[in-house]
Symmetry: C2
Subunit: 418 residues, 2 copies
């Protein structure tokens, strides 16, 4: 079978499975999720053996240690995946819930009913646990899913898919509700992105290159985020002790993720007291500072920042620092260099807190809290499917609700349009 | 200035205007809408004169009478546009409203705030009134808009844009909040579709060819509908008098629009009584019937339907008719041939009404009412921006709310992530 035919057949059978899932009550979906969790644990040895083949090949091909680390499936990984599925079972199923009904002057009763999207395609890089996390969330929301992981993880993902298929079949759900693209060829992605008749949504997860490729080539709507250039603005009126703790947490707690702070903005009247102390704390944690001229004047260890540093997602212990004249300059800096991801202000001023929340355009805006809270679990959505920085459909962390849509339901007694 | 530079500059200035509009309170937006309405009426003679140039050129170029009719701007058209704007003023402004707040165990307060999308690009065909309707709705929702109408309407659209710009300036809003692409070159559309850094959403309005072109070439998310192949299923338990009235209304009241019925499905036990009478009523209205073999047996005037007829959006006084064994067959016919637009059942049976509403996948599903109600005004959303049959972001008629999105707003008192 050609790659094109393979993808076409997968998409068609996913569509059929999606129709069946859309009518499936919550308890049957939850039973299937629990069976998948059990099956993963039962198949642990086989999964690890298949993963071992991927890891050996990756080593032979000279992949970096970081890549091999992300690729590796251990007992702990399998247990985390199973636990993740059991947590998805506890989420509320949004499918079939309706909004308040409104009644039109002619007596028509109208409401919106939440329904699955249909078929979701996920395109991701090496981490095999995404296969299970994504499948679980899609299933809970009543969607069929087509998973295309990195080709270096193909044996692992196939082994995971086999466990899922067995569990789905045991639970009397269609096996094609969760499918892993079974071929390595890159053109499989191109064909998948053309299936607009059968696939409703594409979610790419990975580096900026992968995401740009998907956006440029997809006929199907895409939910994505490119990068997180997150700012904390320490206002004139900030509690400086709180500011220090929040900024330290935002930069250092986990610097390699998209909701870590990349640029610190400090009000000019706060900077002389705040920055030297903050810089010392950062220095102890090994954070390199790249500052505006005023920052460099106040902090001798800071290197001069270049224009590119304000646009940079360092994902590392590097921080750009800029002293601003006032809040307007901070908001305008964020509008110019920000990525609509996560923006925080530290302030004790009522009006400025409100202005910041309203005027800053980002998927999550915070007052007096760390940028690291832009996360589905932390905000109370449960497991998430990534963070969207495009505004259509979902802006911010995408939980199970964001994997659904609504249709209009209209009940009448013979109304005609005149 | 090259076409590419023109579009780039428009998109940049629209982005800046969008930022300003996003902070603009409702009363200022409403004042601007009313000023636009007044200005259109004041400029009526100039607008009609410019439109006259477009109409003359269209006649010289041999455009069809239907096209020329859609292109023409009369006093009545201008008055309708002004009235439409005054109705938009009465809609509730969704911007800045927040959802219920929830509180996380660590004390973080989280809610969602409704915000404008930013910059919206509208690509449409000859009707110049779309220029004003679309601009008004976008403005109300706090968005800047770039309008690209048919090149045959360029003089008309420029004249309208001039009136809008004057009114915006009088209302102290940025003139670049509403811009008409000022050139005829087709590549202007291609350049517009590449501005993903500055434009948040593209809405194409027009024929299937235009919409497919936009979907295939856009890097920006697109809200669209291709076509409406709408069904009415007359169930075994239907009130036949009601069924006749609803089917007649759905087909004949305005056959050239997307929510008109294109295929009638009738339960086999109802068909012998219902179809001959219904066919007679249709015949009087000049409706041509294309039926399945059973339909042709029951209705001598019906022509045999071909496979293509089940997929057809006739937009005319033509109707495909099929007798089905049961509701399963009706639902399955709709899943195969439908376009996710509008689907109705006529029934007196409680269980079947519920099953139809849940199982049929369309942007609007109805019981005992005409398909013609799939319309923003009819469903109570106020003015609409078209009907979306893609499920992401909006499914069904798009009102002012669908031109906004939500961000997460988080208030803390120094929370850190551990």
């Amino acid at each position: 079978m050609s790659v094109e035919t393979t993808i076409l057949e997968m998409a068609k059978s996913a569509r059929a499975a999606g129709r069946e899932l859309s009518r499936c009550p919550t308890d049957r979906k939850d039973a299937a999720l629990l069976k998948i969790a059990d099956q993963l644990e039962a198949d642990a040895e086989r999964i690890k053996a298949e993963n071992g083949r991927d890891v050996s090949a990756a080593k032979e091909n000279g992949l970096s240690n970081a890549m091999i680390d992300r690729l590796s499936v251990t007992d702990a990984t399998i247990s985390d995946m199973a636990q993740g599925l059991r947590e998805i079972v506890r989420l509320t199923d949004p499918v079939g819930t309706t909004s308040e009904t409104w009644i039109r002057p002619n007596g028509l009763e109208v409401c919106r009913m939440r329904i699955p999207l249909g078929v979701i395609g996920i395109i991701y890089e090496s981490r095999p646990n995404v296969t299970i996390d994504a499948a679980g969330l899609c299933l809970k929301a009543g969607n069929a899913v087509i998973l295309r992981g990195g080709s270096e993880a193909l044996n692992s993902n196939r082994a995971l898919a086999e466990a899922v298929a067995k569990a789905l079949s045991d639970a009397n759900l269609p096996e094609t509700a969760v499918q892993v693209v079974p071929v390595r060829e890159r053109e499989a992605v191109n064909y998948l992105l053309q299936q607009e008749e059968t696939v409703d949504l594409i979610i790419p997860r990975g580096g900026e290159g992968l995401i740009r490729f998907v956006v440029e080539n997809s006929k199907i709507p895409v939910l994505k985020h490119y990068k997180g250039i997150c700012h904390v603005y320490v206002d004139e009126s900030a509690d400086l002790q709180m500011a220090e703790e929040v900024c330290f947490n935002a930069k250092v707690q986990r610097p390699g993720v998209c909701n870590a702070m990349e640029t610190l903005l400090v009000h000019q009247s706060t900077a002389p007291e705040f920055l030297p102390k903050m810089a010392e704390r950062f220095a102890q944690a090994g954070v390199e500072l790249r500052g505006c001229p005023e920052t460099c004047r106040l902090v001798s260890s800071a290197q001069p920042a270049e224009e590119a540093d304000w646009y940079a997602e360092f994902l590392d212990l590097i921080l750009a620092v800029r002293v601003v004249e006032n809040m307007d300059e901070a908001v305008s800096h964020i509008a110019t260099y920000g990525s609509n991801h996560t923006e925080a202000i530290i302030t004790s001023d009522y009006n400025r807190s409100r202005r910041f929340l309203r005027e800053v355009d980002a998927s999550v805006v915070l007052v007096n809290a760390s940028t690291r809270f832009n996360d589905g679990g932390q905000l109370g959505l449960g497991a998430e499917m990534g963070i969207s920085t495009s505004k259509l459909h979902a802006y911010g962390p995408m939980g199970v609700d964001e994997l659904t849509t609504t249709k209009f339901v209209v009940c009448g007694n013979g109304q005609l349009r005149s």
